[in-house]
Symmetry: C2
Subunit: 598 residues, 2 copies
């Protein structure tokens, strides 16, 4: 059975030593009092909960799955899930980052992300229940009316109620303009909703007293397509005026999906049968409002794969230390044993270091974007807020797609370290792969993320966001340009940054002549962009490590940082060379294929 | 539910138009009468059986799995498996490539491979029952005594009995030198075997009357390590003198594994309790003998992933034609419908073409090596036999590892085409991914294949095998060097062939100084070598297509060949640029990591 040890030292390294988070947080009024000790304490406590309560339920939850009872249209979660939920709520974990106004602890997103990483490492399927609930509070906070906030948010923050997002329908997922769920206005200001939703994560379960569904639907006179979508709150039980649980509303689970992974999370088909709903925000502006939740969910999906990458790595490393098989090519390393531990073999190290580097780079990126998100919401200077917001918007598709692509690769490599045992359920490695697989799909497939990055975030604003990011790189490269010890990290970063700039201009030109060029280049472009970000991440982490070593710190931690950075630049970064060629190869080899698809 | 249409046209193209198989087979005495009509007829019949009988049992077999009964120590295969087996046996499919002497139909391996591809596309888990049986007949044919052949082979060829290979033990898989199963000689010339074997595919089941286990074990006085391994036949029921089913032997299934995929194949723990066995071949030479079966199995694993790649492609293409979602970036393509079929989107085409190109390249390679195998066994000229054998030995690890790596990528891309539906069991796409995953592991992990290629097949003979392959490439490049229409295919082939030669020399030099350099470079080296072979495959297929077009054939089939080849060179081949950098990056970034693994 897999184990999980929260990587507290590495989390602290990224937050405090690399990002200098507390200095930056001090500039944000709500977080002026948040210091490193508090952050570390919260992470340590959360880590304990994750490894002691959530992780032991991961394999059993996968084996048991959720049960749907057609007679009552209810879902039972696996054994132990409800008890863990109660403990989670009681300890106050649901309120971590919420505003004090609604009972929250008012901690920054940075801390929320660190905790979320550990939750997902321990149990992704379980973590999806509270994960989506936090998204609903953020959505209501941004777009709900004062009454809606007052009625729903305290309950959601307290973990008494949970939330969902209801977007997809049987005939449309990516293309939400096609949705058919109808919302008919009623005299009292409410709406009656009718329709079918599918793939609703945590749509029905037995953890909480009430479930608050955020539903996209169309008004009777709505314009065609995505400009005619409105957003509604549709509670499972209509709240009483004092936020008690009132009568059962007409939204029911009509079945659950049998999936490749995340078995312990209920993926529900939901039927709306004249369900009562209340509009959130403006009519026909629902999709834009929903993006608050979707953007949060995209970061959340990145954290899911970051967590899985870390836990898969830890277990593969433990196995590689234990398993004796063959002698090292350079001669016995454990001559007293019948064979050497497989950790002596270069390719076993390649597989392990792949997962480790993807985890460390992903951790830097995920924590950095969380800090930027905090800045974008709370910095007193509007320009800083805008800059931070631009970076969040640029980096979000990279967090979602790059970290999840890498997570699938990493969990597969870690499974491979186990040989045949990796394929057997009881070792738990194959569950990581199955769970990691969904992360490339939901909350916008990785293709959609790539189109969002290249089409919307890079080309549509004429490269403005990209230039802001480029400025950060240039400043860093300048800063370290004369430091010989940093050349092995800074040079490939500078080289790739140049190449991305050229590639972007080239694609921009091509896109003017043929829009398919964007679709044809987007996926490899995102891989290249991801490597620029990770090259920056590893260079920054190496910078800190080298300074510590220069100061006389001889702990293996900092040496390990340099070694992992070298592995990244030697073994993972070269993918960018291939991806650039693929991105440059043009739309013709995809679209001039009428005979192939005849 | 997935469908499967045998790709007969493409199979014929590779066999007859590209490889000119019947001309080459005519030079081999046993196959002098095998003509194209016969081959096509056999493939057509086999294809019908695969799509009509085996494919409908694929999803149900996965859902049901195998059942182990501890009281009787027996395994029940999923519903329908036994009936399909009986039909299979009755139609004579088990005897396809076996010698007439033992009741076989004496057809070439080429035909066996083509049929095997279709069986695996239809149902990999089912196909593993007869697949291993054929391996046992080949092993006995090569190393069995006349009595052993006479007793066992007719029953195995007739499909009355099935076979297994029993190598792995709980503490050793790759490192068979560590096995502990003991074989004690008896006065009557037989042996008593005691020990534990795991991961025995088809080790116990209800399909056939008897199961013939090929077991690796150690004699009491055996030398340490892999030089002390002997090979034994251990039948489930001891055959009577007239090859009837005699008394129950002491080899029992003590449990089956619960796996990520191939649920319908029984993966057995086998206990030998004073089981009676008979030695095959020489004492302590068992591992070398077993390689006959292992090499066959490695080709078989490549065919498994080839089949899965093809069937995943077919179903993803069908979905991409049906599913309406978004408009083409260049404007509506199906204006009468609410949205365009997703086949209009460039990245959907990239995913589909990835699978298609991996299938077409894999088919060329797999059929070519099968033909080489036939030549290596039956050509009247010893030098031709030797050359063919050298190529088979060089290409075997590439078939096993390159096709299975690609198969995992292809099935994942095809799943992705379905979006969220790809993750749901009922669509069947996720089963392809789960089944494909084992192929990177068993019969020697892909790391082992890579070490076999670079260490044993390339460097150990001073590049002699590689030069033979290089000669084939050079001849082809010379032949097409002045044909302008072929430059787009021949130039990248020539370029990569040069680079591989240089890379090989460089690695050979490095390996002399540090053996870890081989282990550090092997996996990316195999990816590069695979691309050389595939670049050759696509260039050869393009050559045939261009000739047909020049002759006035305007069928889309040949145009499609050129388009797929262009896709391959534009979108898949560039991976070689990254892999070369990874292979050249050296052992240091893997082995100078003492702090990482402190």
């Amino acid at each position: 059975m897999p184990q999980y040890t929260p990587p507290l030292r590495d989390m602290q390294f990224v937050m405090h030593e690399v990002l200098d988070a507390t200095t930056l947080l001090k500039e944000l009024p709500p977080y002026a009092e948040v210091d490193a000790d508090l952050i570390n304490q919260v992470c340590e406590e959360a880590g304990k909960f994750c490894s002691e309560v959530l992780q032991p339920l991961n394999a059993s939850g996968d084996a048991e799955g959720c049960h749907y009872d057609a007679a009552t249209r209810t879902v039972t979660t696996p054994k132990g899930f409800k008890a863990a939920w109660d403990q989670f709520v009681q300890a106050g974990w649901t309120s971590l980052t919420a505003d004090a106004e609604f009972g929250g602890q008012g901690l920054p997103h940075l801390v929320g992300s660190a905790v979320h990483e550990m939750q997902n490492a321990a149990n992704q399927a379980w973590t999806m229940y509270p994960g989506l609930t936090q998204g609903v509070t953020e959505l209501l906070n941004a777009h709900g009316s004062a009454e809606q906030k007052a009625l729903y948010m305290p309950k959601l923050v307290a973990g008494e109620w949970t939330g969902t997002m209801c977007l997809t329908e049987p005939h449309c997922g990516t293309d939400l303009g096609l949705i058919r769920t109808k919302a008919v206005p009623q005299a009292d200001g409410s709406y009656k909703l009718t329709g079918q939703k599918i793939f609703i994560s945590s749509g029905e379960h037995d953890l909480a007293d009430n479930i608050i569904h955020m539903v996209l639907a169309k008004l009777p006179d709505a314009p065609e397509g995505s400009k005619g979508i409105s957003l509604f709150i549709v509670p499972k039980f209509v709240p009483t005026a004092d936020a008690g649980v009132g009568e059962r509303n007409g939204i029911f689970c009509s079945g659950i999906e049998h999936k490749m992974g995340i078995h312990a999370n209920s993926t529900c088909q939901m039927t709306l049968e004249d369900a009562t709903g209340w509009m959130v925000g403006e009519p026909n502006k629902g999709l834009a409002a929903m993006f608050v939740m979707m953007n949060g969910a995209r970061l959340g999906v990145g954290m899911q794969s970051l967590g899985l990458t870390e836990v898969a790595y830890q277990n593969a490393l433990a196995y590689a230390r234990d398993r004796l098989q063959m002698r090292a090519l350079t001669g016995p390393k454990a001559p007293d044993k019948p064979a050497d531990p497989i950790l002596v073999h270069p390719d076993v190290r390649r597989m392990l270091l792949t997962a480790r580097a993807w985890a460390e780079g992903g951790r830097f990126l995920a924590y950095w974007i969380s800090l930027l998100l905090d800045q974008s919401l709370h910095h007193p200077d509007a320009e800083v807020r805008k800059d931070a917001d631009d970076l969040v918007s640029l980096l979000t598709p990279i967090v979602k797609a790059f970290i999840t692509d890498n997570g699938l690769q990493a969990t597969n490599e870690c499974l491979q370290v186990f040989g045949g045992h990796g394929y057997i359920r009881e070792w738990g490695m194959e569950q990581f792969v199955r769970d990691a697989r969904i992360n490339l799909i939901y909350e916008g497939t990785n293709t959609i993320q790539s189109l969002d990055l290249l089409g919307r975030k890079v080309l549509m604003d004429g490269g403005a966001r990209l230039r802001k990011f480029g400025k950060i790189l240039t400043d860093f490269i300048e800063e370290e340009g004369v430091n010989e010890a940093m050349q092995e990290f800074v040079n490939p970063l500078a080289d790739l940054a140049d190449k991305v700039q050229k590639l972007t201009m080239e694609l921009g030109m091509k896109a003017m002549a043929d829009k398919d060029e964007v679709g044809a280049a987007a996926v490899p472009y995102l891989r290249v962009a991801g490597h620029v970000v990770f090259a920056y991440a590893f260079a920054r982490m190496a910078q800190v490590a080298q300074r510590k070593i220069a100061e006389g710190d001889d702990s293996p931690f900092y040496q390990a940082k340099l070694q992992t950075a070298r592995f990244y630049f030697g073994r993972l970064y070269p993918e960018s060379a291939a991806a650039i060629r693929m991105a440059r190869s043009g739309a013709k080899n995809l679209m001039d294929t009428e005979a192939v698809f005849a």
